[in-house]
Every structure is written in structure tokens, then in C-alpha cells.
């Protein structure tokens, strides 16, 4: 089984700062992976390398059995059109939502199908309404992002990613920019998706959520996978000292 996504020897440097130092990972269809780690451990960079928001410095990304890019002198070479096509198959949800402020919620969600997939307007809008309903925002279709709460904006962003009918979803700290009282609605929405058997990778600081959400937990330390396993193993019975210390620091107030 080669999996829906495979990373081989993935490395990423920003200048002299090596953020990812050789990541090997295979993700099977339907897996839900929570990526944990201290800030600076490279977890967001790892996620962003999967859909090439960052271009890896070395290593390969293989999606559904096909390696992305071509081997060339001095590293792999990626054509913009190939990356654009790849990104239509991988949805991404950002920490800062990044909704398009000049479009209504409906237009935000319809934009991808309409202008990238070439779906007709009526069809794209019908689909957009379905996805907005799914994240519980059917009645906000005509609202502009500035009129929505952070939690609502993030749910629209999730609907926008879903509207592309992607093969996998990447969540980059989806609740970190939210007021505490708005975190719940977004986590509920994400949990709802996990019941549909979608392949998802999620970078988060919410350990409790990771426990309920994930089928596998990965703990990153200094750009390498330090420990991985089921949520039960990694979060309740960590084998590595660093993992244990990290979890200890994050559950001080759990009671």
C-alpha cells in the first residue's frame, strides 16, 4: 500500500535555518493525522510543503502514487501548472481564514469551482449553498466576511475548501486565531468531517481535540518525527521524554 500521500526525505531550509530535516511519512486514505510539536518544530512548514505553499528543499512528495515534479539538475523542478492542478486536489484551511473580503460567503465558496474547475455559475452556487449548509451557515450566504465572527469565517473557509471536493484536507492551526468561545464551533465542524472518512492532516495546539480527532498523532521535534502512534499511545503513554514534557506543559490546566 503506497497510500494517498507519501513524503520521502522531505527537507526545507529558510536560508541557513533548516526547519525540516528529513521527514518520511505515509498517509493512507481516510487517515486523520494530528501533527503536534513546540513552536518552531516545523509542523506548519511540513503541512505547507504538502500543497507546495512552500517548495521543499529536498525530498519528494507523492500524491496517489504519482511523485510531484521532475528530477532535474540541482534538485527537483516543479512546473506552476502541475502545482496548480495538484492544489485543486488538496484543500487547505489557514490559521487566519484568508477569506476573500470582496466576495460574499457564497461567492467565496463558489469561487474555486467557478473559476478553477470551470463549473457553471448555477451549479457552482448550488454546490456552495450545500457546503455552507453543511458547516451550518446556510443563512449567512449573502454576508461579507467582515460581517462574520472569526468562527463563522473559519467555517466558510472550510466550506470553500470542501467545495473543490478535494482528496485530502490540510488544517494549519485552524483555531489558533480564534477567541476561546469560538473555538468549539470550528472543532465541531472538523469533527463532523471526520465522521465522513475524509483524509485530513491537522496542525494544532489543542491536545484534547487531537485526541478525539486523530487516528494517528505525530510529534515533531526540531524538524524530525520524534514520536508517532495512536492518540492513546502518544498522548497518554508517550515513550519519549520530549513528548512527555511537551504534553505536560500543555495540560497544566486540564481537569
Amino acid at each position: 500500500m503506497s497510500g494517498i500521500l507519501r513524503l520521502d526525505g522531505l527537507r526545507k531550509s529558510f536560508g541557513s535555518n533548516e526547519v525540516l530535516r528529513g521527514i518520511d511519512l505515509t498517509v493512507q486514505q481516510g487517515e486523520r493525522i494530528a501533527i503536534l510539536g513546540a513552536s518552531g518544530s516545523g509542523k506548519s512548514t511540513l503541512l505547507r510543503c504538502i500543497n507546495f505553499m512552500e517548495v521543499p528543499s529536498a525530498g519528494t512528495v507523492t500524491v496517489a502514487g504519482t511523485p510531484v515534479g521532475e528530477e532535474a539538475r540541482g534538485g527537483r523542478c516543479y512546473r506552476p501548472a502541475e502545482l496548480a492542478r495538484l492544489r485543486t486536489r488538496i484543500g487547505m484551511i489557514f490559521q487566519q481564514f484568508n477569506l476573500f473580503p470582496h466576495m460574499t460567503a457564497l461567492q467565496n465558496v463558489a469561487e474555486g469551482p467557478l473559476s478553477v474547475l470551470g463549473v457553471g455559475r448555477a451549479e457552482a452556487e448550488a454546490r456552495a449553498r450545500q457546503h455552507l449548509a453543511k458547516v451550518g451557515l446556510a443563512e449567512k450566504a449573502e454576508a461579507y466576511p467582515a460581517r462574520l465572527s472569526g468562527g463563522q469565517q473559519q467555517r466558510v473557509a472550510i466550506a470553500r475548501a470542501l467545495a473543490m471536493e478535494p482528496e485530502m484536507l490540510l488544517f494549519d492551526e485552524p483555531t489558533s486565531a480564534l477567541d476561546p468561545e469560538l473555538v468549539g464551533e470550528v472543532l465541531e465542524t472538523i469533527l463532523g468531517l471526520s465522521r465522513e472518512g475524509r483524509t485530513m492532516l491537522l496542525v494544532t495546539h489543542e491536545l484534547g481535540f487531537a485526541f478525539h480527532f486523530a487516528t494517528r498523532v505525530i510529534f515533531l521535534h526540531e524538524g524530525m518525527i520524534h514520536e508517532e502512534g495512536t492518540p492513546e499511545q502518544v498522548l497518554k503513554h508517550p515513550r519519549q521524554d520530549r513528548t512527555r514534557a511537551f504534553i505536560g506543559r500543555h495540560s497544566t490546566f486540564a481537569f
Binding site: 500543497n51 505553499m53 506552476p80 501548472a81 496548480a84 492542478r85 495538484l86 492544489r87 485543486t88 488538496i90 484543500g91 487547505m92 489557514f94 487566519q96 481564514f97 484568508n98 477569506l99 476573500f100 473580503p101 470582496h102 469561487e111 474555486g112 473559476s115 478553477v116 461579507y144 466576511p145 467582515a146 473557509a157 470553500r160 475548501a161 473543490m164
Partner: protein, 222 residues
């Protein structure tokens, strides 16, 4: 010392003056249009990943931003015929000089507007699989234009005043007509006062309109 103001030559020559104003506006309008097109082109070159294109655009922009417009007028009208044997009408020369010069300023406004759009917007578009061209057209420019419109209008007002330099090429715009009438009537003080009043009225009305537009823009989605 008491100067006897006499505005009757102005009223007698109202026809030619208004015709001059018409020419001023005609030259301004075309220069703005051509300047906007040139400016957008220069801005996109400036932002292109090609280093050569970017540096070439930068050289043009900085050259035209930092040299006096009168020199551009003379260079095109008197210089080109000598250098490469291309001579053109005063209107065409003025149009070229004005639109290239304002294109250089417009380019910086366009570029500034485009780069002012947050990184997250570019990433959100790319993450949906948009090509760079589509991203620019659907996501970046619609937002950037709202920020560009006030400085673009400001610069266009500047251009309208700069058209007066076309008088030096004997193009029959408002100032040139005024110079002719002043030399015939020996009433330069009154004639040039009238010119100032006409420019002021047109641009003041336009700036009232601009405030209205800015108000509408501010009322938008943000």
C-alpha cells in the same frame, strides 16, 4: 498705483478660451487612458519574476519620475525628428510625453496597491489551484483597485495641470490660447487670472466628485 482691471477681453474671447479648455480636457483624457495602460504594463513588468523585465521597468519608471516633464516634451517634439527622423504633431508629442510620464507614476501606484494585499490572500487563491493570472484578476486586483483609486485620481489632476506645458509646442490648449489672446489684447493679467479660475473650477469640481467616490469606497465591505 491703481491698476484698472478690465475683463472685457476675456469675455470677448470666451469662445477661443473655451475651445482651449476643450483641447486641454481632450489631451488630458487620452493621456490618462494611455498612461493607465502603460502604468499597468510597467507595474506588471516590475513585479514579474524576470529580473531583466523588472529592472528595465524600474529604469523607465525612475527616469520619468525624476526628470522635468518639460524636458520630455522637448525631447519628443524636437529631439525625435533630429535623432531618428520621426516628427509628430504637437498633440501626439504632448500625448506621448504626458502618458509616459504619468504612466511612470501610475505604475508605482499600481505596484503599491498590488503588493499591499496581504500574503494570506495570495496563498488562499493559490491553495484553490488558481494560476497567477487568474489570482491577479479574481482576487488581487479587485481588492487592490479600491486602494489605488484615490492616488490615481490625485495623479490624474496633476496631469491635467501639466497639460499646460503643451503650450510650449504650440498645441492649442487653454494656456496657449491664453498666451495668444494676451499678446493681442495686452491684458495678460486678466487673461491668466481667467485661466487660473478655469483650471481651479474644473479641478475643484473634479475633486468634489473624487471625495464622493472615496466615500463610496470606504462604505464598501471592509
Amino acid at each position: 498705483m491703481s491698476y484698472q482691471w478690465d475683463f472685457s477681453p476675456v469675455w470677448r474671447n470666451a469662445g477661443p478660451l473655451l475651445e482651449g479648455l476643450g483641447n486641454t480636457l481632450w489631451l488630458s483624457g487620452w493621456s490618462i487612458l494611455l498612461g493607465l495602460a502603460l502604468g499597468l504594463g510597467l507595474a506588471l513588468l516590475r513585479l514579474s519574476p524576470s529580473r531583466i523585465a523588472s529592472v528595465a521597468a524600474l529604469v523607465v519608471i525612475e527616469f520619468y519620475r525624476n526628470t522635468p516633464p518639460l524636458v520630455h516634451f522637448f525631447w519628443i517634439f524636437f529631439g525625435l525628428p533630429i535623432l531618428i527622423g520621426v516628427s509628430m504633431s504637437p498633440f501626439t508629442a504632448a500625448l506621448l510625453a504626458l502618458s509616459i510620464q504619468s504612466g511612470a507614476f501610475f505604475a508605482e501606484i499600481f505596484r503599491g496597491g498590488i503588493v499591499s494585499i496581504e500574503r494570506g490572500q495570495w496563498e488562499a487563491g493559490r491553495a484553490l489551484g488558481m494560476s497567477e493570472a487568474r489570482l491577479m484578476r479574481r482576487i488581487i486586483l479587485p481588492q487592490a483597485v479600491r486602494r489605488m483609486i484615490p492616488p490615481l485620481m490625485e495623479r490624474s489632476f496633476e496631469l491635467v495641470k501639466t497639460t499646460a506645458l503643451a503650450a510650449t509646442l504650440a498645441y492649442g490648449e487653454l494656456l496657449y490660447r491664453a498666451m495668444v489672446i494676451a499678446s493681442q489684447t495686452f491684458r495678460p493679467l486678466e487673461i491668466y487670472t481667467a485661466v487660473a479660475v478655469i483650471f481651479f473650477s474644473v479641478l475643484f469640481l473634479a475633486s468634489l466628485g473624487m471625495r464622493r467616490v472615496e466615500h463610496v469606497l470606504r462604505r464598501g465591505h471592509r
